[in-house]
C-alpha cells in the first residue's frame, strides 16, 4: 500500500485533466464494445484468486478515476464492457496509469508485472463482459501477408504510414510507430480502438484479416529493406534531408580537397 500512495503523490497536479481526456477515450471504447454484436466471452478459466488479486490492484490504482465498480468518475471513464483486451493493452503497454497530461496517453515501461496486468484484466472482465485477450492461435504470424498488406494500406496506413512508421494527427496527437509492437497489442488495439484510434471490430476486419495484417507487419519488420538502411521509413523528407546533409556534404568536402593546393 505504501508503494501505491507514493505513486499517487507523484502525480502531476494537472493529471485530472488528462484523466478526463483519457476517460473520454475509454467511454468511447466502452460504447463501441457495448453496442457490438460481437460479444466476446470472458475467460472462464480465470481463477477466483486472480480476480480477487485484480480487485485489490484495481481498488488501489485505478478506482480513484474509474470508480470502485468500473462505473467511472468525472476523472475517468466507465470501464464497463471494455473487456480484458482493452485493459491488457492500456496497462500492458504502460499507457495506464497515466503519467502526465498530454494530448494522448504515451507508451512507457509498464507499471505492473504480467501477472498483475492479467489479474486486472480478469477483474475488469469479470464485472462486465467485453472483448477478451486474443489467444495464441489468433496471433500466429503465418497468415496471408498479401491480404494483410492490402488491408493495412486501406485501413491503417493513412495514420500509421505504409511502413508502420507512425504519423501525425490533429492537435498534437499522433499514431504511434508499429515496429516492435507485440502482435498481441496490435490485435487488441484494432479490436478496442484505444485513444483516438477507430475500432475495427470483427465485422470490419475479421480475426483472419487481423492475423493477416499482423503477418504483414511482422514480415516488413523481420525482412529489412532490400535497398539498405531505411532512414526511418519517413519517405521523401528523410531522403531529401539525407542528400542535403550527407550527399552534398561529402561532395563539397571533396571539392574543397580537390581545389586546395597540395602541400
Amino acid at each position: 500500500m505504501a508503494r501505491t500512495s507514493r505513486k499517487a503523490n507523484r502525480r502531476h497536479p494537472l493529471a485530472t485533466v488528462v484523466l478526463i481526456a483519457i476517460g473520454l477515450a475509454f467511454t468511447g471504447g466502452g460504447y463501441a464494445l457495448f453496442s457490438s454484436t460481437a460479444t466476446a466471452d470472458t475467460s472462464t478459466a480465470t481463477s477466483q484468486a486472480t480476480v480477487e488479486e485484480g480487485s485489490k490492484l484495481f481498488a488501489a490504482n485505478c478506482a480513484t478515476c474509474h470508480g470502485m465498480n468500473l462505473e467511472g468518475t468525472t476523472a475517468g471513464p466507465s470501464l464497463l464492457g471494455v473487456g480484458a483486451a482493452s485493459v491488457d493493452f492500456q496497462v500492458g503497454t504502460g499507457r495506464m496509469p497515466l503519467a502526465m497530461q498530454g494530448p494522448q496517453a504515451m507508451q512507457k515501461p509498464p507499471q505492473f508485472t504480467e501477472e498483475q496486468t492479467a489479474a486486472l484484466s480478469a477483474y475488469v472482465a469479470s464485472l462486465s463482459p467485453g472483448p477478451s485477450i486474443p489467444t495464441d492461435s489468433q496471433l500466429t504470424e503465418n497468415g496471408n501477408a498479401t491480404n494483410g498488406g492490402e488491408l493495412f494500406r486501406i485501413n491503417c496506413a493513412m495514420c500509421h504510414n505504409v511502413a508502420g512508421a507512425g504519423g501525425a494527427l490533429t492537435e498534437g496527437k499522433f499514431a504511434p510507430e508499429l515496429t516492435g509492437v507485440e502482435s498481441k497489442y496490435i490485435y487488441e488495439a484494432m479490436l478496442t480502438g484505444p485513444q483516438n484510434m477507430p475500432v475495427f471490430n470483427d465485422h470490419n476486419i475479421t480475426p483472419e484479416d487481423k492475423r493477416d495484417i499482423i503477418t504483414y507487419l511482422k514480415y516488413i519488420q523481420n525482412n529489412p529493406s532490400p535497398g539498405g538502411f531505411e532512414l526511418g521509413n519517413l519517405g521523401p523528407v528523410a531522403e531529401g534531408l539525407f542528400i542535403w546533409i550527407f550527399g552534398i556534404g561529402a561532395v563539397v568536402a571533396l571539392t574543397v580537397w580537390l581545389t586546395a593546393k597540395s602541400n
Binding site: I154, V162, G227, P236, I243, I248
Partner: protein, 553 residues
C-alpha cells in the same frame, strides 16, 4: 601590366608560350609512332588540331565553389547512364497485371505493368535495385547541386554582364530538372506517386475556365486513367532530356565564350584568368571528379533505400500513407499548398475560383519570375554596362546578399512546411502550431533575414576596412614608456590587403531632368531602387586613406 609581371615570374602563358610553328618533338618509340600516325589520320579528316590548339591549354581558375555546376553535370551523366539501363526493363504501361514476382506481400495483387516492372527491376534483376537507387539518389543530388550552384552564382554576382543570358539558361535548366524529377517520381505508379499525381490533378482542376478540360487532356479522361504513365515516360526519357542536353551544351558554350569568372585576388584582373590549363591538370581533376561524384552516389545507393515502392504498394485512389510528401525539390510547392489559410475559395456568378490553389501558384510563379529576371533588374539599377569577370565577395554587395538571404529564407520556410507533419511528430508539437509558426515565418522570416544579412555584410566590410588600414590584432601586448599598454596591430601584407580592397562601390542615382527637362517615372523608380541598393555602403580603402593612416602613426 599584369602580363609582364607574370612573364617575369616565369609563369606559363596559356596562349602564347607554345609557338605554333615549332615542330613537335616526337620520340621514335613504336607507341609514339602509332599515336602520331593516328593523330595525323584524324587531323587530316577533321582539323582537330585547331580545336586542341584552341582549347587544350585553356585556363580554368580553381575554387571549390566552381565545382558545383560540375557536380550537377556529372550527376546528370550518371542519371542518363542508369536511366538508359532502366528503360530496358521498365514498361511504361498502366495495363493491369497481377504481380507474380518474389516480393511476398504483393504476390497476387493487381497493379499496373509500370509498377510490376519496377518491382521486377528491384527484385528479379541482379543489380537492378542498385541501378534504380543510383538513378534516384543521383536525381536528388542533381537538383540539390543545381540549387547550390545557383546560390553560388547569385551571391558572388556571377550573373552580371556578360552572363545574364547564361543565368536565364541555367535557371530554365533548373526548372526542367524539377520537371524531370517529378515525371520520374510518378513513373512507378505506386501509392505515393499516385497521390502526388492526384494532387497535380486537383491543382489543374482549380485553373479558371479550362481546369477540368486540362485535367481530362492530361490524364486522357477521368483521373487516373490509363494514359498518364506512358505520357510522362515520353516526357521523362525523350523530350525533357533532349532539351536539357541541348541547354547544357549551350550553357557550356557560353562558359567557354565568357571564360570562367574568378575571385578577386592579387594578380587577378578583369582582363585575365589565372588557373590551370585544361591539359593536363584540369582534365585530370575534372575527369577524376566525375568518378568521385559517381562513386559517392554509388556508395549512398549501396547502403540506403530510396523510394521503397514495395512498401507503398500499387496506386489505388482509396488508401494514402501518413507522411505523403513529394521529393525534396517539389517540397516548396507542396508547402505553399499547406500554408494557405482555410476557406479561400469563392463562387462568383456560378463559377468556382479556387484561391487556395491559385494564390500559391501565383506567389510561386512570381518568386520564380523574380529569380529569373534578377540579373536584369540589378543591371538596370546599377546602369553598369561593363563586363564583370571578377566575382564579388557576398559582403561587398550587401543589398544583393540581403535580398538573396530573404529569398532563401522564404524558400526554406515553404520547404519546411512540406514536412509539417513530420516536424510535428518528431518534435512532439501539434500540427496546427507547426503550420501557424511556418505561416508566420514565411512572412516575417525573409524580412528578418534581409536586415540581419545586410547588417552582417556591412559589419564585415567595416572589419575588412579596419584590417586593410590598421592591420590585424597580433595578440602582442606592449607596454609603452608612459606605462600605457597597447596591443600591437600588425599590417596585413599587400596580397592580403588587395583581397580586402579590390571591389566596386556604387552610389545612388541623382535624378536629373532629361533633354526635355522632365523627370520620368522610370527614372524615379530607378533612383528609388538605387537608393535602396546603395544608400548604406562602405567604400574600399584608397591610397589616400592608407597614406593618411600611415602618417597618423
Amino acid at each position: 601590366m599584369t602580363i609582364e609581371k607574370t612573364k617575369a615570374d616565369g609563369l606559363v602563358d596559356g596562349t602564347t608560350d607554345h609557338p605554333v610553328g615549332a615542330p613537335p618533338r616526337i620520340s621514335n618509340a613504336p607507341s609514339a609512332r602509332f599515336t602520331s600516325a593516328a593523330a595525323n589520320y584524324i587531323d587530316e579528316r577533321t582539323s582537330i588540331s585547331a580545336v586542341v590548339k584552341e582549347f587544350g591549354r585553356k585556363i580554368f581558375p580553381d575554387h571549390w565553389s566552381f565545382m558545383l555546376g560540375e557536380v550537377a553535370l556529372y550527376s546528370f551523366v550518371v542519371i542518363i547512364l542508369t536511366g538508359t539501363f532502366l528503360t530496358f526493363f521498365f514498361q511504361a504501361s498502366m495495363a493491369p497485371v497481377v504481380y507474380d514476382g518474389s516480393f511476398v506481400p504483393l504476390k497476387g495483387v493487381e497493379m499496373s505493368s509500370a509498377m510490376s516492372s519496377t518491382l521486377n527491376i528491384s527484385f528479379e534483376i541482379r543489380g537492378g535495385l542498385l541501378v534504380r537507387q543510383i538513378h534516384h539518389w543521383a536525381a536528388l543530388l542533381f537538383i540539390a547541386s543545381i540549387g547550390l550552384h545557383m546560390l553560388r552564382i547569385y551571391f558572388t554576382g556571377a550573373f552580371r554582364k556578360p552572363r545574364e543570358l547564361n543565368w536565364v539558361i541555367g535557371f530554365v535548366l533548373f526548372i526542367l530538372a524539377l520537371a524531370e524529377g517529378f515525371t520520374g517520381y510518378s513513373l512507378p505508379d505506386d501509392l505515393l506517386s499516385g497521390n502526388g499525381l492526384r494532387i497535380i490533378d486537383g491543382m489543374v482542376k482549380g485553373v479558371p475556365f479550362a481546369g477540368s478540360w486540362l485535367s481530362f487532356l492530361i490524364f486522357g479522361g477521368e483521373f487516373p486513367g490509363e494514359e498518364i504513365v506512358g505520357r510522362l515516360y515520353t516526357l521523362h526519357i525523350l523530350l525533357l532530356p533532349a532539351i536539357i542536353v541541348a541547354l547544357i551544351a549551350l550553357h557550356l558554350v557560353f562558359v567557354v565564350v565568357h571564360k570562367h569568372t574568378q575571385y578577386a585576388g592579387p594578380g587577378k584582373t578583369n582582363d585575365n584568368v589565372i588557373g590551370y590549363p585544361v591539359l593536363p591538370v584540369y582534365a585530370a581533376k575534372a575527369g577524376g571528379f566525375f568518378f568521385i561524384v559517381f562513386g559517392i552516389i554509388a556508395l549512398i545507393a549501396s547502403f540506403f533505400t530510396i523510394n521503397p515502392i514495395w512498401n507503398y504498394g500499387p496506386y489505388d485512389p482509396s488508401p494514402v500513407s501518413a507522411g505523403t510528401q513529394p521529393d525534396w525539390y517539389i517540397g516548396f510547392a507542396d508547402g505553399a499548398l499547406r500554408l494557405i489559410p482555410p476557406h479561400l475559395e469563392s463562387v462568383i456568378w456560378g463559377h468556382t475560383y479556387s484561391w487556395n490553389i491559385l494564390i500559391p501558384i501565383t506567389v510561386l510563379g512570381l518568386f520564380i519570375l523574380t529569380v529569373l529576371i534578377y540579373p536584369f533588374i540589378e543591371g538596370w539599377v546599377t546602369g553598369d554596362k561593363r563586363e564583370h569577370h571578377i566575382l564579388d565577395r557576398p559582403r561587398n554587395a550587401p543589398t544583393r546578399t540581403a535580398i538573396g538571404a530573404a529569398g532563401v529564407t522564404f524558400y526554406a520556410a515553404l520547404w519546411s512546411a512540406a514536412s509539417s507533419d513530420i516536424l510535428a511528430t518528431h518534435f512532439q508539437l501539434s500540427i496546427e502550431s507547426v503550420i501557424h509558426a511556418i505561416q508566420a515565418a514565411v512572412i516575417i522570416g525573409p524580412v528578418i533575414a534581409y536586415f540581419v544579412a545586410k547588417r552582417v555584410c556591412l559589419a564585415l566590410q567595416k572589419k575588412d576596412r579596419e584590417m586593410a588600414l590598421h592591420g590585424f590584432e597580433s595578440g602582442r601586448i606592449v607596454r609603452l614608456p608612459g606605462g600605457e599598454y597597447i596591443e600591437v596591430h600588425q599590417d596585413v601584407d599587400e596580397y592580403e590587403r588587395w583581397k580586402l580592397v579590390s571591389f566596386h562601390e556604387y552610389k545612388p542615382l541623382m535624378i536629373r531632368p532629361n533633354a526635355k527637362g522632365k523627370i520620368t517615372a522610370p527614372q524615379r523608380l530607378r533612383a528609388g531602387m538605387s537608393k535602396w541598393f546603395f544608400e548604406d555602403r562602405i567604400a574600399p580603402v584608397t591610397r589616400t586613406d592608407l597614406e593618411r593612416q600611415k602618417s597618423h602613426h
